[in-house]
Symmetry: C2
Subunit: 211 residues, 2 copies
Protein backbone atom coordinates (compact mmCIF):
# COMPACT_ATOMS: atom_id res chain seq x y z
CA UNK A 1 0.00 0.00 0.00
CA UNK A 2 1.47 3.30 -1.10
CA UNK A 3 1.04 6.07 1.50
CA UNK A 4 1.71 9.63 0.30
CA UNK A 5 2.28 12.22 3.02
CA UNK A 6 2.09 15.74 1.61
CA UNK A 7 4.54 18.43 2.72
CA UNK A 8 4.33 22.18 2.13
CA UNK A 9 6.14 25.17 3.54
CA UNK A 10 5.27 25.86 7.22
CA UNK A 11 3.41 22.60 7.84
CA UNK A 12 3.26 21.36 11.45
CA UNK A 13 5.73 18.50 11.83
CA UNK A 14 3.80 16.34 14.29
CA UNK A 15 0.73 16.46 11.99
CA UNK A 16 2.78 14.50 9.45
CA UNK A 17 4.94 12.39 11.76
CA UNK A 18 2.05 10.99 13.86
CA UNK A 19 0.41 9.19 10.91
CA UNK A 20 3.82 8.31 9.46
CA UNK A 21 4.89 6.54 12.67
CA UNK A 22 1.65 4.55 12.89
CA UNK A 23 0.29 4.00 9.35
CA UNK A 24 3.85 3.67 8.09
CA UNK A 25 4.06 0.46 10.13
CA UNK A 26 1.49 -1.31 7.99
CA UNK A 27 3.02 -4.62 6.95
CA UNK A 28 3.18 -3.62 3.28
CA UNK A 29 3.50 0.16 3.67
CA UNK A 30 5.43 2.06 1.05
CA UNK A 31 5.43 5.51 2.63
CA UNK A 32 6.61 8.44 0.58
CA UNK A 33 6.85 12.10 1.55
CA UNK A 34 5.79 14.26 -1.40
CA UNK A 35 5.81 17.97 -2.19
CA UNK A 36 5.79 20.24 -5.20
CA UNK A 37 9.58 19.95 -5.31
CA UNK A 38 11.87 17.30 -3.84
CA UNK A 39 14.18 18.32 -1.02
CA UNK A 40 13.86 19.83 2.45
CA UNK A 41 10.54 21.41 3.40
CA UNK A 42 10.61 23.68 6.47
CA UNK A 43 8.06 23.20 9.21
CA UNK A 44 6.24 26.09 10.90
CA UNK A 45 8.86 26.82 13.57
CA UNK A 46 11.57 27.26 10.93
CA UNK A 47 13.82 24.98 12.99
CA UNK A 48 13.06 21.65 11.35
CA UNK A 49 12.93 20.42 7.77
CA UNK A 50 11.56 17.10 6.58
CA UNK A 51 12.71 15.85 3.20
CA UNK A 52 10.24 15.36 0.35
CA UNK A 53 11.66 12.39 -1.55
CA UNK A 54 9.31 12.66 -4.53
CA UNK A 55 7.34 15.35 -6.31
CA UNK A 56 3.56 15.28 -6.30
CA UNK A 57 3.69 14.49 -10.01
CA UNK A 58 5.86 11.42 -9.40
CA UNK A 59 3.26 9.91 -7.06
CA UNK A 60 -0.02 10.28 -8.94
CA UNK A 61 -1.98 7.35 -7.53
CA UNK A 62 -1.24 6.67 -3.85
CA UNK A 63 -3.55 4.25 -2.05
CA UNK A 64 -3.62 6.46 1.01
CA UNK A 65 -3.20 10.24 1.11
CA UNK A 66 -2.26 12.09 4.31
CA UNK A 67 -2.52 15.89 4.35
CA UNK A 68 -1.06 17.62 7.41
CA UNK A 69 -1.97 21.15 8.48
CA UNK A 70 -0.13 24.04 10.04
CA UNK A 71 0.13 27.80 9.56
CA UNK A 72 1.33 27.24 5.98
CA UNK A 73 -2.02 25.71 5.01
CA UNK A 74 -3.51 29.18 4.36
CA UNK A 75 -1.06 29.88 1.55
CA UNK A 76 -1.93 26.54 -0.08
CA UNK A 77 -5.67 27.17 -0.28
CA UNK A 78 -5.37 28.56 -3.78
CA UNK A 79 -2.39 26.49 -4.91
CA UNK A 80 -3.81 24.85 -8.01
CA UNK A 81 -0.91 22.42 -8.35
CA UNK A 82 -1.65 20.96 -4.93
CA UNK A 83 -5.45 21.11 -5.19
CA UNK A 84 -5.44 19.46 -8.64
CA UNK A 85 -3.12 16.74 -7.30
CA UNK A 86 -5.41 16.15 -4.32
CA UNK A 87 -8.44 15.77 -6.58
CA UNK A 88 -6.61 13.42 -8.95
CA UNK A 89 -5.07 11.33 -6.14
CA UNK A 90 -8.45 11.15 -4.40
CA UNK A 91 -10.08 9.83 -7.57
CA UNK A 92 -8.21 6.53 -7.15
CA UNK A 93 -7.25 6.49 -3.46
CA UNK A 94 -8.60 3.93 -1.03
CA UNK A 95 -8.32 6.40 1.84
CA UNK A 96 -8.01 10.17 1.84
CA UNK A 97 -7.02 11.60 5.21
CA UNK A 98 -5.93 14.77 6.97
CA UNK A 99 -4.67 16.03 10.29
CA UNK A 100 -5.37 19.47 11.74
CA UNK A 101 -6.01 22.19 9.13
CA UNK A 102 -5.08 19.70 6.42
CA UNK A 103 -8.83 19.08 6.22
CA UNK A 104 -9.29 22.65 4.94
CA UNK A 105 -7.09 21.73 1.99
CA UNK A 106 -9.18 18.63 1.29
CA UNK A 107 -12.26 20.86 1.60
CA UNK A 108 -10.81 23.52 -0.71
CA UNK A 109 -10.19 20.77 -3.26
CA UNK A 110 -13.92 20.05 -3.06
CA UNK A 111 -13.51 16.62 -1.50
CA UNK A 112 -15.49 17.06 1.71
CA UNK A 113 -18.77 18.46 0.36
CA UNK A 114 -21.64 17.05 2.40
CA UNK A 115 -19.26 15.00 4.52
CA UNK A 116 -18.67 14.97 8.26
CA UNK A 117 -15.14 16.15 8.97
CA UNK A 118 -12.96 17.65 11.66
CA UNK A 119 -9.97 19.98 11.95
CA UNK A 120 -7.95 21.86 14.56
CA UNK A 121 -10.50 23.20 17.06
CA UNK A 122 -9.59 26.76 16.05
CA UNK A 123 -10.36 26.02 12.39
CA UNK A 124 -13.42 23.84 12.75
CA UNK A 125 -15.94 26.48 11.72
CA UNK A 126 -14.05 27.19 8.50
CA UNK A 127 -14.89 23.72 7.21
CA UNK A 128 -18.53 24.68 6.80
CA UNK A 129 -17.63 27.31 4.21
CA UNK A 130 -16.64 24.51 1.86
CA UNK A 131 -19.81 22.53 2.40
CA UNK A 132 -18.42 20.08 4.96
CA UNK A 133 -20.19 19.30 8.20
CA UNK A 134 -17.83 20.28 11.05
CA UNK A 135 -17.71 17.61 13.72
CA UNK A 136 -15.78 18.11 16.93
CA UNK A 137 -14.66 14.54 17.38
CA UNK A 138 -10.98 13.62 17.49
CA UNK A 139 -11.10 11.26 14.51
CA UNK A 140 -13.95 11.43 12.02
CA UNK A 141 -14.53 8.76 9.39
CA UNK A 142 -17.01 9.40 6.58
CA UNK A 143 -16.67 6.81 3.87
CA UNK A 144 -13.07 6.77 2.77
CA UNK A 145 -12.40 10.22 4.27
CA UNK A 146 -10.72 10.21 7.66
CA UNK A 147 -10.01 13.59 9.22
CA UNK A 148 -8.31 14.18 12.56
CA UNK A 149 -8.40 17.15 14.93
CA UNK A 150 -5.31 19.19 15.84
CA UNK A 151 -1.65 18.16 15.59
CA UNK A 152 -1.25 15.20 17.99
CA UNK A 153 -4.58 13.65 16.93
CA UNK A 154 -2.86 12.21 13.87
CA UNK A 155 -1.51 9.45 16.12
CA UNK A 156 -5.04 8.43 17.12
CA UNK A 157 -6.13 8.70 13.49
CA UNK A 158 -3.20 6.54 12.37
CA UNK A 159 -3.96 3.80 14.86
CA UNK A 160 -7.68 3.90 14.06
CA UNK A 161 -7.05 3.50 10.36
CA UNK A 162 -4.35 0.91 10.95
CA UNK A 163 -6.98 -1.18 12.74
CA UNK A 164 -9.39 -0.81 9.82
CA UNK A 165 -6.77 -1.76 7.26
CA UNK A 166 -4.61 -4.37 9.00
CA UNK A 167 -6.81 -5.49 11.89
CA UNK A 168 -6.99 -4.72 15.60
CA UNK A 169 -4.13 -7.01 16.51
CA UNK A 170 -1.65 -5.30 14.22
CA UNK A 171 -2.79 -1.87 15.42
CA UNK A 172 -2.34 -2.97 19.04
CA UNK A 173 1.18 -4.20 18.24
CA UNK A 174 2.07 -0.82 16.78
CA UNK A 175 0.58 0.93 19.80
CA UNK A 176 2.69 -1.30 22.06
CA UNK A 177 5.89 -0.73 20.08
CA UNK A 178 5.39 3.03 19.98
CA UNK A 179 4.48 2.80 23.70
CA UNK A 180 1.43 4.96 23.11
CA UNK A 181 0.10 4.93 26.65
CA UNK A 182 -0.46 8.68 26.97
CA UNK A 183 -0.06 10.27 30.38
CA UNK A 184 -0.21 14.02 29.78
CA UNK A 185 0.87 15.97 32.85
CA UNK A 186 -2.09 18.35 32.36
CA UNK A 187 -5.67 17.94 31.17
CA UNK A 188 -5.82 20.92 28.83
CA UNK A 189 -5.81 19.27 25.42
CA UNK A 190 -9.17 20.53 24.16
CA UNK A 191 -11.13 23.79 24.43
CA UNK A 192 -13.63 22.01 26.68
CA UNK A 193 -10.92 20.98 29.13
CA UNK A 194 -8.40 23.85 29.10
CA UNK A 195 -8.83 26.90 31.36
CA UNK A 196 -11.23 29.33 29.68
CA UNK A 197 -8.77 32.23 29.59
CA UNK A 198 -6.22 30.11 27.70
CA UNK A 199 -8.89 29.12 25.18
CA UNK A 200 -9.86 32.76 24.73
CA UNK A 201 -6.22 33.83 24.35
CA UNK A 202 -5.66 31.17 21.67
CA UNK A 203 -8.80 32.27 19.84
CA UNK A 204 -7.70 35.89 19.91
CA UNK A 205 -4.22 35.04 18.60
CA UNK A 206 -5.64 32.82 15.86
CA UNK A 207 -7.79 35.57 14.37
CA UNK A 208 -4.66 36.83 12.66
CA UNK A 209 -3.94 33.44 11.14
CA UNK A 210 -7.31 31.89 10.34
CA UNK A 211 -9.64 34.28 8.62
CA UNK B 1 17.26 28.66 25.56
CA UNK B 2 19.12 26.59 23.00
CA UNK B 3 17.63 23.12 22.51
CA UNK B 4 19.78 20.59 20.64
CA UNK B 5 17.97 17.55 19.26
CA UNK B 6 20.42 14.86 18.20
CA UNK B 7 19.91 12.87 15.00
CA UNK B 8 21.66 9.69 13.90
CA UNK B 9 21.07 7.12 11.20
CA UNK B 10 17.93 4.99 11.84
CA UNK B 11 16.57 7.05 14.73
CA UNK B 12 12.81 6.88 15.36
CA UNK B 13 11.22 10.05 14.02
CA UNK B 14 8.47 10.50 16.63
CA UNK B 15 11.09 10.22 19.43
CA UNK B 16 12.57 13.46 18.14
CA UNK B 17 9.45 15.22 16.88
CA UNK B 18 7.43 14.82 20.12
CA UNK B 19 9.84 16.91 22.22
CA UNK B 20 10.47 19.26 19.28
CA UNK B 21 6.76 20.05 18.95
CA UNK B 22 6.35 20.72 22.69
CA UNK B 23 9.67 22.00 24.08
CA UNK B 24 10.30 23.85 20.83
CA UNK B 25 7.33 26.05 21.77
CA UNK B 26 9.12 27.55 24.76
CA UNK B 27 8.85 31.33 24.42
CA UNK B 28 12.60 31.74 23.88
CA UNK B 29 13.38 28.38 22.28
CA UNK B 30 16.18 28.20 19.76
CA UNK B 31 15.79 24.62 18.61
CA UNK B 32 18.48 23.09 16.45
CA UNK B 33 18.69 19.61 14.97
CA UNK B 34 22.29 18.37 15.17
CA UNK B 35 24.19 15.35 13.86
CA UNK B 36 27.74 14.38 13.06
CA UNK B 37 27.24 15.87 9.60
CA UNK B 38 24.73 18.43 8.38
CA UNK B 39 22.09 17.30 5.90
CA UNK B 40 19.35 14.69 5.76
CA UNK B 41 19.41 11.90 8.36
CA UNK B 42 17.22 8.87 7.58
CA UNK B 43 14.85 7.55 10.20
CA UNK B 44 14.43 3.83 10.94
CA UNK B 45 11.80 3.11 8.27
CA UNK B 46 14.04 4.45 5.53
CA UNK B 47 11.09 6.48 4.23
CA UNK B 48 11.68 9.76 6.06
CA UNK B 49 14.67 12.03 6.53
CA UNK B 50 14.92 14.95 8.94
CA UNK B 51 17.54 17.57 8.22
CA UNK B 52 20.39 18.20 10.66
CA UNK B 53 21.06 21.92 10.30
CA UNK B 54 24.25 21.98 12.36
CA UNK B 55 27.04 19.58 13.25
CA UNK B 56 27.51 18.44 16.83
CA UNK B 57 30.75 20.45 16.91
CA UNK B 58 28.90 23.63 15.94
CA UNK B 59 26.58 23.34 18.95
CA UNK B 60 28.90 22.65 21.87
CA UNK B 61 26.91 24.14 24.74
CA UNK B 62 23.13 23.69 24.35
CA UNK B 63 21.00 24.49 27.38
CA UNK B 64 18.83 21.46 26.74
CA UNK B 65 19.87 18.21 25.06
CA UNK B 66 17.32 15.76 23.60
CA UNK B 67 18.52 12.31 22.52
CA UNK B 68 15.99 10.18 20.63
CA UNK B 69 16.23 6.42 20.28
CA UNK B 70 15.44 3.91 17.60
CA UNK B 71 17.04 0.83 16.05
CA UNK B 72 20.05 2.93 15.05
CA UNK B 73 20.95 3.55 18.70
CA UNK B 74 22.84 0.25 18.90
CA UNK B 75 25.38 1.37 16.30
CA UNK B 76 25.97 4.61 18.22
CA UNK B 77 26.85 2.92 21.53
CA UNK B 78 30.55 2.99 20.69
CA UNK B 79 30.54 6.14 18.58
CA UNK B 80 33.14 8.20 20.42
CA UNK B 81 32.30 11.40 18.54
CA UNK B 82 28.73 11.29 19.80
CA UNK B 83 29.53 10.04 23.31
CA UNK B 84 32.23 12.67 23.81
CA UNK B 85 29.83 15.37 22.59
CA UNK B 86 27.13 14.14 24.98
CA UNK B 87 29.55 14.30 27.92
CA UNK B 88 30.78 17.77 26.98
CA UNK B 89 27.29 19.14 26.31
CA UNK B 90 26.05 17.65 29.56
CA UNK B 91 28.82 19.36 31.49
CA UNK B 92 27.15 22.72 30.87
CA UNK B 93 23.53 21.81 30.06
CA UNK B 94 20.63 22.82 32.25
CA UNK B 95 18.66 19.74 31.18
CA UNK B 96 19.82 16.49 29.60
CA UNK B 97 16.96 14.39 28.24
CA UNK B 98 16.17 11.34 26.17
CA UNK B 99 13.27 9.47 24.61
CA UNK B 100 13.09 5.70 24.10
CA UNK B 101 16.48 4.01 23.74
CA UNK B 102 18.15 7.42 23.66
CA UNK B 103 18.64 6.85 27.39
CA UNK B 104 21.02 3.99 26.56
CA UNK B 105 23.21 6.52 24.76
CA UNK B 106 23.18 8.83 27.78
CA UNK B 107 23.99 5.78 29.91
CA UNK B 108 26.81 4.68 27.60
CA UNK B 109 28.24 8.18 27.91
CA UNK B 110 28.35 7.57 31.66
CA UNK B 111 25.74 10.19 32.48
CA UNK B 112 23.14 8.06 34.26
CA UNK B 113 25.27 6.24 36.83
CA UNK B 114 23.30 5.90 40.05
CA UNK B 115 20.35 7.72 38.54
CA UNK B 116 16.74 6.65 38.09
CA UNK B 117 15.97 6.49 34.38
CA UNK B 118 13.62 4.93 31.87
CA UNK B 119 13.70 3.74 28.27
CA UNK B 120 11.56 1.82 25.78
CA UNK B 121 10.00 -1.06 27.77
CA UNK B 122 11.94 -3.56 25.66
CA UNK B 123 15.25 -1.90 26.56
CA UNK B 124 14.63 -1.06 30.20
CA UNK B 125 16.77 -3.85 31.63
CA UNK B 126 19.76 -2.77 29.54
CA UNK B 127 19.99 0.49 31.50
CA UNK B 128 21.17 -1.38 34.60
CA UNK B 129 24.31 -2.53 32.79
CA UNK B 130 25.49 1.07 32.78
CA UNK B 131 24.79 1.62 36.43
CA UNK B 132 21.43 3.36 36.04
CA UNK B 133 18.37 2.37 38.02
CA UNK B 134 15.69 1.27 35.52
CA UNK B 135 12.33 2.76 36.38
CA UNK B 136 9.21 1.82 34.46
CA UNK B 137 7.50 5.18 34.64
CA UNK B 138 6.62 7.12 31.50
CA UNK B 139 8.67 10.18 32.37
CA UNK B 140 11.46 9.99 34.94
CA UNK B 141 13.16 13.08 36.36
CA UNK B 142 16.33 12.69 38.42
CA UNK B 143 18.02 16.02 38.95
CA UNK B 144 18.55 17.57 35.55
CA UNK B 145 18.14 14.22 33.75
CA UNK B 146 14.72 13.60 32.24
CA UNK B 147 14.23 10.31 30.44
CA UNK B 148 11.05 9.17 28.70
CA UNK B 149 9.78 5.71 27.83
CA UNK B 150 9.16 4.55 24.24
CA UNK B 151 8.57 6.70 21.15
CA UNK B 152 5.33 8.63 21.85
CA UNK B 153 6.28 9.32 25.49
CA UNK B 154 8.48 12.18 24.31
CA UNK B 155 5.30 14.26 24.03
CA UNK B 156 4.53 13.72 27.71
CA UNK B 157 8.16 14.39 28.57
CA UNK B 158 8.14 17.59 26.55
CA UNK B 159 5.02 18.93 28.24
CA UNK B 160 6.31 17.94 31.69
CA UNK B 161 9.58 19.76 31.17
CA UNK B 162 7.83 22.70 29.53
CA UNK B 163 5.86 23.11 32.74
CA UNK B 164 9.04 23.01 34.83
CA UNK B 165 10.78 25.58 32.64
CA UNK B 166 8.02 27.96 31.54
CA UNK B 167 5.26 27.27 34.05
CA UNK B 168 2.05 25.25 34.04
CA UNK B 169 0.08 27.87 32.15
CA UNK B 170 2.44 27.92 29.18
CA UNK B 171 2.55 24.12 29.09
CA UNK B 172 -1.26 23.99 29.12
CA UNK B 173 -1.38 26.47 26.23
CA UNK B 174 0.95 24.26 24.20
CA UNK B 175 -1.13 21.20 25.06
CA UNK B 176 -4.24 23.07 23.88
CA UNK B 177 -2.63 24.26 20.64
CA UNK B 178 -1.29 20.81 19.82
CA UNK B 179 -4.71 19.46 20.83
CA UNK B 180 -3.08 16.78 22.93
CA UNK B 181 -6.22 15.16 24.26
CA UNK B 182 -5.26 11.57 23.51
CA UNK B 183 -8.01 9.11 22.65
CA UNK B 184 -6.23 5.96 21.50
CA UNK B 185 -8.65 3.52 19.87
CA UNK B 186 -7.04 0.65 21.83
CA UNK B 187 -5.58 0.27 25.30
CA UNK B 188 -2.44 -1.61 24.38
CA UNK B 189 0.25 1.01 24.87
CA UNK B 190 2.28 -0.73 27.57
CA UNK B 191 3.35 -4.32 28.28
CA UNK B 192 1.01 -4.32 31.29
CA UNK B 193 -1.99 -3.39 29.14
CA UNK B 194 -1.39 -5.11 25.79
CA UNK B 195 -2.50 -8.71 25.18
CA UNK B 196 0.18 -11.05 26.57
CA UNK B 197 0.83 -12.81 23.27
CA UNK B 198 1.60 -9.48 21.56
CA UNK B 199 4.02 -8.56 24.35
CA UNK B 200 5.73 -11.94 24.00
CA UNK B 201 5.90 -11.60 20.22
CA UNK B 202 7.51 -8.16 20.53
CA UNK B 203 10.02 -9.49 23.08
CA UNK B 204 10.95 -12.37 20.80
CA UNK B 205 11.43 -10.07 17.81
CA UNK B 206 13.50 -7.62 19.85
CA UNK B 207 16.06 -10.23 20.87
CA UNK B 208 17.62 -9.79 17.46
CA UNK B 209 17.90 -6.03 17.91
CA UNK B 210 18.60 -5.43 21.60
CA UNK B 211 21.31 -7.69 22.92
Amino acid sequence: MQIAIVLFDRFTALDAVGPYETLGRLPDADTVFVAERVGPVRADTGNLALVADRTLAEVPRPDLVVVPGGPGQTAQMDNDVLLRWLRAADATSTWTTSVCTGSLLLAAAGLLRGRRATSHWLALDSLARFGAEPTSERVVTDGKYVTAAGVSSGIDMGLTLLGRIAGDEHACSVQLLTEYDPQPPYDAGSPEKAPAHLVERARAASRFILS
